[in-house]
Symmetry: C2
Subunit: 154 residues, 2 copies
């Protein structure tokens, strides 16, 4: 069961991920933001820096997971939750599996590249870790910031 | 068609990836190595640093792609080839797609987590880029270094 306080907590951390997405947009990057939460505290936050940082690896999730590993002092994030405004692509969903993140909460679905249920669901394959996935938290807000960004590009 | 000189070139770059895998083994990391080649030259080389670097993101492919982006000054590696000793996992196969790498050459297949043909084939989904994949180059040598590493762990 999903309690009222859990829903409130998920929304509150997603708002922090949205703040990161806003930074990406200001830098000219597709606005996706992420935070990693451990023991009720945000231990890492990041935003998409593909253009700004000039690397295909620089998705918000990968940068946040990398920073969380640095903070935790190792590659296992098995007591952590990742909040991300957009459904992870295969690279980022793979990073979630590799880091043993317990839980992933994402906002908007990504029909074009989403790898936790939309285009493909990596949880349906026998990898050695299967994270809990929650989708649709502040989905409207998470989709809206993307829509506005792309409308501004036209 | 795959010419003799191409086969020779692929083997020669895979030997360089194997040298990287050896460094990983010496550091206590699962021995996987990678190089990125552009215009016939190695522009980036890396080995698995999951334990040594303490991050789930630190697979050889991701580190090599990140370095290649830095060298090329941007996230698109569309005129490059990645050589890697082991079939990429979903994170790394996703990184190959995201970076628009033209070609991936890998050595040993990975039945447990391979995402370019073994457990799953990401190229069978309609992502906006489909790399050319060549498998089995120095497969015996690439599998052997892994087998020896795990035998030593027992």
């Amino acid at each position: 069961m999903y309690s009222c306080s859990e829903i409130f907590e998920d929304k509150s951390f997603m708002l922090e991920a949205l703040k990161e997405a806003e930074i990406a947009a200001k830098n000219g990057d597709v606005p996706v933001g992420a935070v990693v939460v451990c023991g009720g505290e945000i231990i890492a936050r990041a935003h998409n820096e593909r253009e700004h940082g000039g690397s295909a690896i620089n998705h918000a999730e990968v940068l946040a997971i990398n920073e969380a590993c640095r903070i935790k002092g190792g590659w296992r994030l098995s007591d952590c939750t990742l909040y991300v405004t957009l459904e992870p692509c295969p690279m980022c969903a793979g990073a979630v599996i590799n880091s043993r993140l317990t839980r992933v909460v994402y906002g908007a679905k990504d029909a074009r590249a989403g790898a936790f249920g939309s285009l493909i669901d990596l949880r349906s394959y026998p990898f050695n870790h299967k994270p809990i996935c929650v989708s649709g938290v502040l989905a409207k807000e998470c989709a809206s910031i993307l829509r506005e960004f792309f409308a501004g590009k036209r």
